[in-house]
């Protein structure tokens, strides 16, 4: 498969000695959506800024579309679109003018540009807001404009740097479906987020970062295999006696039992029918409960397993 991005042993060390990225290597292939998942400060944005040649890096090599990426690699840059984390548009220009300006940095032909701008507006659902200034838009609409400015020129490789931070659910769905559509049109996408649900829904492959290094990478299912648990059963129950917790710990397949507030959490390393066994136990001991549900391990559990801390810490 064609490599679109190839990063080898990338290290970015700041003058004070802090390593934002530490010997990081990754590859992105044509047509896939790759998620860079990690908590704030894990090196996601720094990695992207190094790939885009915005930041100096201490060592390593970066190739994009098979060529060394440099600040004056205009042929490579013309194929790249970037949606930055912060909304980066002109308050003085209308929605249409913002798009026309940024698209115009890539596309000289006015007629073609007009067509592309209209398409981008349609993609993000801003048809009714073309003449609005950014200050007249809601937070969600503003995020959509921010995205449209990054993708209007139809790039082959698009970086999305946490595009859904602080957006309403409707805009989030619009953004995620827009990204799916861009992939369907043939774009390769690098998507950074600290929302594991988004990464699971959207990404073909996920690279988990922490402290500037790659902890693990693979599909969502492959990563979940890394977690040391098979199943989690959560029971909402009031005033559970200590003796029952000890009894539950002795049940088949049970690994860890915790009871905090009114939430009883039982993790299992293996086995089947764990939830039905638990329902049976509760019934036999006449323990009243409000609800009970079972979960497969999440990416957060994988992260917890790998780092000892929560993804959102």
């Amino acid at each position: 498969m064609e490599k679109v991005i190839e990063v080898k042993n990338l290290t970015k060390e700041y003058k004070k000695g802090t390593k934002a990225v530490d010997d990081l290597s990754l590859e992105v292939y044509k047509g896939e959506i790759v998620g860079l998942l990690g908590p704030n400060g894990s090196g996601k944005s720094t990695t992207i800024n190094c790939i885009l040649s915005l930041l100096k890096y201490s060592s390593g090599s970066i190739k994009v579309f098979g060529k060394e990426m440099n600040p004056d690699s205009y042929d490579i840059k013309s194929k790249i679109g970037v949606v930055f984390q912060d909304v980066s548009v002109f308050d003085e220009l209308t929605v249409y003018e913002n798009l026309d300006y940024f698209c115009g940095l890539y596309i000289k032909d006015k007629a073609k540009r007009k067509e592309l701008v209209e398409e981008a507006i349609e993609l993000v659902g801003l048809q009714d807001f073309k003449k609005y200034r950014p200050k007249q838009l809601s937070g969600g609409l503003l995020r959509r404009l921010n995205i449209a400015c990054g993708i209007a020129h139809k790039p082959k490789l698009i970086f999305f740097d946490e595009p859904t931070v602080a957006v309403d659910p409707q805009s989030r769905n619009n953004i995620l479906s827009g990204i799916e559509k861009l992939r369907e049109e043939g774009a390769t996408i690098v998507y950074t987020t600290h929302y594991m649900e988004e990464a699971e829904i959207l990404c073909d492959r996920i690279i988990i970062l922490d402290k500037g290094t790659v902890l693990a990478s693979g599909t969502s299912d492959e990563l979940k295999e890394l977690a040391d648990i098979e199943e989690k059963v959560t029971v909402e129950v009031n005033d559970l006696d200590e003796k029952y917790i000890a009894k539950i710990s002795d049940l088949k397949n049970v690994d860890v039992v915790t009871y905090s507030g009114n939430i009883l959490l039982i993790t299992y390393k293996k086995g089947k029918n764990n939830i039905s066994d638990m329902v049976e136990f509760l019934k036999n001991n006449r323990i009243k409960y409000n609800k009970i549900f079972s979960e497969r391990p999440t990416l957060n559990d994988v992260f917890l397993e790998l780092t000892g801390k929560e993804l959102r810490d």
Partner: protein
């Protein structure tokens, strides 16, 4: 690409309301205030002369510079007569001062002027200013005499006499036209020139990836940064030219300010001054890491401070800085512009004017070189 960025830079600048206020409206408002305030001052000055006394001792009578200057300034035939002078002895002068019949009196002792006042006020300031001017001139002439004695004894007397006579003549001539108010208008034009900095700073902010998200967007685009930066600065300069044009039309056409006959050189100085403003904005925009609003505030503060030091709120400030901190005014672009206008207005010799033009060009070059080194970095250490 050049025209695309140029067009949109103009659009963003013309739709930036706070920028429009500071660049277009504020200088016109200031000019209007100056006009209203100075109209009153001129009328007052025409009506009032200041009563002073001079101790009529031998030293004063033998000092031609003091004697002739005060004769001129108290001449009834002089339209700009400044003083009513009573020549008397020290005791009588004291009594006149105690009786509040005079504002102060001057006594020359050991070549040093001594002024005695009972209170402080505008009249006392004027008296002191005149005496300081004469004293400084006298020292300058004395210094020239000393220098020349060392090697040019034969021409010493003639040259010094010529200089001395010329100085006195210059004083007389200047007095006929002396119009300190015009300096206020010069500082206003200088301030307007430097406001080009606010415009260029706003336009340059959008190109810097370490300052704004827009800068990141522009930097990752396949467009040469030099084209983006140059077209942005050119758009800023165009806005500045319109600002200056409007100000000149208002000053000359509406307020009827008399700037003399060197309009061509005034325009040249304004253009170079505006370029200095653009360069100042480039410098601040490039080096100061702050929000756009904070940077606009910083830019306005620099401009206002520079204008203040060059005499916007009173010519005395320019005089004091020239006298006590000359280096500050030498590196203050507002003063370079003001002083250039001043030189055009008061002197027939253009050397001081060209010196200021040269200083501004040096300032522009330094600002552009420093900014280019910062902007021109291919990649940044941090953004």
């Amino acid at each position: 690409m050049f025209l695309h960025n140029f067009k949109y830079t103009l659009k963003t600048l013309f739709r930036n309301r706070s920028l429009l206020f500071w660049t277009f409206a504020f200088p016109l408002i200031m000019a209007t205030f100056f006009h209203m305030a100075f109209a009153d001052i001129t009328e007052d000055e025409q009506l009032k002369t200041i009563d002073i006394a001079i101790v009529n001792n031998n030293e004063f009578n033998n000092n031609m510079l003091y004697k002739q200057t005060f004769n001129t300034l108290s001449d009834d035939n002089n339209e700009d007569k400044l003083f009513n002078i009573t020549y008397t002895d020290r005791e009588d002068a004291k009594k006149l001062l105690e009786d509040k019949k005079i504002e102060g009196y001057l006594e020359l002792n050991n070549n040093t002027p001594k002024l005695t006042f009972q209170s402080n006020g505008i009249n006392q300031t004027i008296i002191k200013y005149v005496v300081d001017e004469i004293h400084d001139t006298e020292k300058m002439i004395s210094s020239m005499k000393t220098d020349m004695k060392s090697g040019m004894n034969s021409i010493n007397t003639n040259v010094c006499n010529y200089v001395e006579a010329k100085e006195i003549e210059l004083k007389d001539t200047a007095n006929d036209n002396l119009n300190y108010i015009i300096i206020e208008y010069f500082t206003l034009i200088a301030m307007t020139c430097l406001y080009a900095g606010s415009v260029s700073m706003v336009s340059i902010n959008k190109t810097l990836p370490y300052l704004t998200g827009k800068g990141k967007r522009v930097t990752v685009a396949p467009t040469k940064r030099s084209i983006i930066i140059f077209s942005s600065l050119l758009a800023s300069f165009l806005v500045q030219l319109l600002t200056l044009g409007l100000l000149f039309v208002y000053l000359l056409g509406v307020l009827n300010v008399e700037f003399g006959c060197n309009v061509g050189l005034m325009v040249l100085l304004s253009l170079v001054g505006s370029l200095a403003g653009v360069a100042l904005g480039l410098l601040v925009g490039t080096f100061v890491k702050a929000t756009e609003n904070s940077k606009t505030g910083i830019m306005i503060a620099i401009t206002m401070a520079g204008s203040f030091l060059s005499g916007m709120m009173g010519v005395g400030m320019k005089y004091q800085i020239d006298k006590n901190l000359p280096l500050l005014n030498k590196i203050n672009p507002a003063n370079m512009i003001t002083d250039g206008f001043y030189a055009l207005y008061y002197y027939t010799d253009y050397s001081r004017f060209w010196f200021n033009i040269g200083s501004l060009l040096i300032f522009i070059s330094i600002a552009v070189i420093l900014s280019s080194r910062k902007i021109g970095r291919a990649r940044y250490d941090s953004i």
